[in-house]
């Protein structure tokens, strides 16, 4: 074993021991499955305290610079922490927009001042971030954003509305894409990117109830909201490229995220364990040849995804389509998970029809809720259908 491997192994043992001691017990109320469904103050306080505890122990932002609250280590250390979080069924690390999108973006493109101001508070969960990209009339078509920001002295005055603002009602800051120049020849050149405060007059977030029955999304309204001009990131009119960089982090195309544990870990093994306990026609469900064949398909999909992740690190095996595997992670992974959860939710006989809250529901309705929740992944960050266009155009070179 090399020194490096030995050090990682020792680290994993330390993390595992710490988690055995410190992962909080079931709080007795429903916790969100992902960061997209934090819907009550009770959940928020619990998750904020948990993230702060993990960071204080030195297990968050493992590869972020120490001067901004990170640990300055190799990214492999963060993977170890994330895997142990999953293994210990730890509650999610919820400040995801800060940790995985804004943080890497600022470390990549931000000024020293911006890094010093924001990064540490993202890690410690003292400040929560949300994202203001999509609008009621412009979901996947970001270039058409209409929310206006008009410069007035050392402030911008913002008017308009953003939607699907995850954590918007709790957030301290928003990454905001707004139109500063409606006259620009190319619609993209009229957009600017702001690190906007949320707790100012004229900004209101109204929670939206989801298909799962839970909250977490908001519609955010801007009514003559005045934000400091200093929160413009980059140049006025240069917002599109910053937004696209943000999406690379959001979609996992580019690495640098501080924690992958943004949702409850659900693997193909969990599916099989669940189905193994169920019956059909008075026999074990897993003795049914059709079910068995379906499961082989799911296992192969799961394995293909893991193999792709590994293969990305072997350039000699990616010479034909160098960016192809990275650009198809979201397209493949989120759809596989949706079908896997739907399948498990529908193989429970009459109990398939039960939902969270019914005492007889299989695992408290976990699979039914997880299936619905998964649409956050197949729609958010660019729908599956938009992802297919991206792969067709950017990987295969097909025309727009």
């Amino acid at each position: 074993m090399t020194d490096n491997k030995a050090a990682l192994k020792a680290f994993r043992e330390d993390v595992s021991a710490w988690m055995a001691e410190n992962v909080p017990a079931d709080p007795g109320f429903l916790l969100p499955l992902t960061f997209l469904e934090v819907g009550t103050e009770q959940q928020l306080d619990f998750l904020r305290e948990w993230q702060h505890k993990l960071w204080s122990a030195g297990y968050l932002g493992m590869h972020w610079p120490t001067e901004f609250g990170g640990q300055g280590a190799d990214p492999a250390y963060q993977f170890v922490v994330d895997r142990e979080l999953g293994r210990h069924n730890a509650p999610i690390i919820f400040n995801t927009i800060g940790l995985n999108w804004v943080g890497p973006l600022l470390l990549d493109m931000g000024t020293d001042e911006e890094k010093a101001k924001y990064i540490k508070n993202i890690l410690s969960a003292e400040e929560i971030w949300c994202q203001g990209f999509s609008e009621p009339d412009h979901g996947s078509d970001l270039g058409a954003v209409q929310t206006r920001a008009v410069k007035d002295g050392d402030e911008y005055v913002v008017n308009g509305s953003k939607i699907w603002t995850t954590l918007g009602n709790y957030a301290d800051h928003m990454i905001l894409l707004a139109r500063t120049n409606p006259e620009a020849e190319r619609k993209y050149d009229g957009l600017s990117f702001f690190l906007s405060p949320m707790k100012v007059a004229g900004i209101e977030a109204h929670p939206i109830r989801k298909v799962t029955g839970e909250y977490g999304f908001n519609q955010t309204f801007f009514t003559d909201a005045r934000i400091p001009a200093s929160c413009l990131m980059g140049e006025e009119g240069g917002g599109w490229s910053v937004a696209m960089k943000t999406l690379e982090y959001e979609r996992g195309v580019t690495a640098g995220q501080a924690s992958g544990h943004w949702g409850v870990t659900i693997q193909v093994d969990d599916m099989i364990d669940e189905l193994r306990a169920l019956e059909n026609d008075g026999e074990a469900l897993l003795s049914d040849p059709i079910v068995r064949d379906d499961l082989v398909g799911f296992i192969m999909e799961a394995k293909a995804l893991s193999l792709s992740a590994r293969r990305m690190a072997v350039p000699a095996l990616n010479t034909d389509y160098p960016m192809g595997l990275a650009l198809s992670v979201k397209y493949r992974g989120t759809e596989y998970e949706r079908r896997m959860k739907q399948y498990t939710a529908s193989k429970q006989g009459a109990r398939s029809a039960l939902y969270v809250g019914d005492a007889d529901a299989v695992r408290g309705g976990f699979w039914q809720r997880a299936y619905f929740s998964n649409f956050g992944a197949t729609i958010g960050g660019g729908t599956t259908q938009v992802q297919a266009n991206i792969i067709a155009e950017h990987v295969l070179g097909l025309p727009k």
Binding site: Q267, V268, D269, I272, D273, R276, L286, P289, R292, D293, L295, V296, G297, I299, M300, A302, K303, A304, S306, L307, S308, A309, R310, R311, V314, A316, L317, D320, Y321, G324, L325, S328, Y331, R332, Q385, A388, N389, I391, A392, V395, L396, G397, L398, P399, K400
Partner: protein, 377 residues
């Protein structure tokens, strides 16, 4: 322990060079016109190309030094078959490689002379199937007490051009391997099959009366046979994956140049999105194939290696059948013609999907391996 835990995938520098060289060779020596020129010949391959492949050492890649091979390990044959598939190039390399594996795994250095001949360019093949079923013992040919064989094998790949046949037979009910030289066959023993893929050749072979030059007996035979069939699945999958990649580029080229209703047809999502799924299927197959290449060895294949070979075959077949089928459809009326290369792709797909067992064969066995064995989840 997770079902998907073993996800080792790598390519050594040596294997990477092999992939580059093999792709370059196929590009230079076997343009599609050269492939088409062989479609209706008796042998199905160009002897000059075969000689060049032998000189580059490809017939010995997966055999050990001790018998005249390169000692690179059988996984190193994967990049070569990937490249050959990319050219749809017909050669007897798959048959020869598989015959070498079976002989080596069953007989070891006892077969040194014969293995050396395969390394030097003699063509070998395994005579396995008694009937159409890859999932049964297929030991119907008998080695009689007078030392000759009786019975017939079917669908023997490259039988028309083979110098050596490794015949799967039985001796009083026990599986044995009988090595038969072509010169030992009776006149008229071969009867060619009309194959769906015209880059491939096969024949039914009557071994009755043939006297084997060597008989391999013992416990190693059954194990060698099992592992060789798995390797056959893996190497066929590698070749199929290469072909799927080539098929995908032929589709994207057409979608980028053909106009209908005033627009390039590649701009229509009805064509775009299925093409993305062909791409994803091809990449999945490539991941499984190189995962297999990484974990197979010259020793008895592990459970993980068995899973890898079977998954590779399933993934590659799925990808190629879909790609070939859509290639014909997306080329429209032209796609329906002999002149269009989609014809070659759809025929390759239909040939490959049954070789070494189709999807039902492997998925049934994967279900048992993954869902029933202790510690599988």
């Amino acid at each position: 322990m997770s079902i998907t835990l073993n996800v080792a995938i790598s390519l050594s520098d040596e294997q990477g060079m092999l992939l580059d060289v093999a792709r370059g060779f196929v590009r230079d020596q076997a343009p599609i016109e050269a492939v088409r020129a062989q479609l209706e010949t008796e042998t199905g391959y160009d002897a000059n190309i075969w000689r060049a492949m032998v000189e580059m050492g490809w017939t010995g890649i997966s055999l050990p030094d001790a018998v005249g091979g390169a000692g690179m390990g059988v996984g190193s044959a994967v990049p070569v078959f990937d490249a050959l598939g990319g050219g749809l190039l017909g050669t007897p390399l798959l048959s020869t490689t598989i015959a070498g594996q079976l002989l080596w795994r069953a007989a070891g250095e006892k077969a040194t002379d014969w293995l050396g001949r395969l390394c030097n360019g003699e063509i070998g093949t395994v005579a396995l199937l008694d009937h159409a079923d890859w999932g049964v013992a297929n030991t119907g040919v008998a080695l009689d007490t007078d030392g000759t064989l009786s019975g017939r094998k079917r669908f023997v790949a490259d039988a028309q051009v083979a110098d050596l046949f490794v015949v799967v037979a039985n001796e009083s009910g026990t599986p044995v391997l009988a090595l038969v030289e072509t010169s030992a066959l009776a006149p008229g023993a071969l009867s060619a099959n009309v194959l769906i893929d015209l880059t491939k050749r096969a024949a039914n072979v009557d071994f009755t009366g043939a006297k084997p030059a060597l008989v391999v007996r013992g416990e190693t035979v059954a194990r060698a046979l099992r592992d060789t069939l798995l390797l056959g699945a893996l190497l066929t999958a590698a070749e199929t994956t290469g072909a799927a990649g080539r098929c995908l580029s032929s589709i994207t080229e057409y979608l980028k140049t053909r106009k209908q209703f005033g627009k390039l047809i590649g701009s229509y999502q009805a064509l775009k999105h299925p093409t993305v799924d062909i791409y994803v299927g091809m990449e999945n197959a490539r991941s499984f194939v190189y995962h297999g290449a990484t974990i197979v060895s010259d020793e008895v294949l592990s459970r993980d290696a068995e899973v890898a070979c079977r998954m590779a075959k399933v993934a590659a077949d799925d990808a190629m059948v879909y790609a070939g089928d859509r290639a014909v459809q997306f080329h429209g009326g032209f796609g329906f013609t002999w002149e269009c290369d989609s014809t070659l792709f759809i025929r390759r797909a239909q040939w490959a999907q049954q070789m070494y067992g189709g999807a039902i064969h492997h998925r049934k066995r994967l279900a048992a391996l993954l869902l029933d064995e202790e510690g599988s989840t």
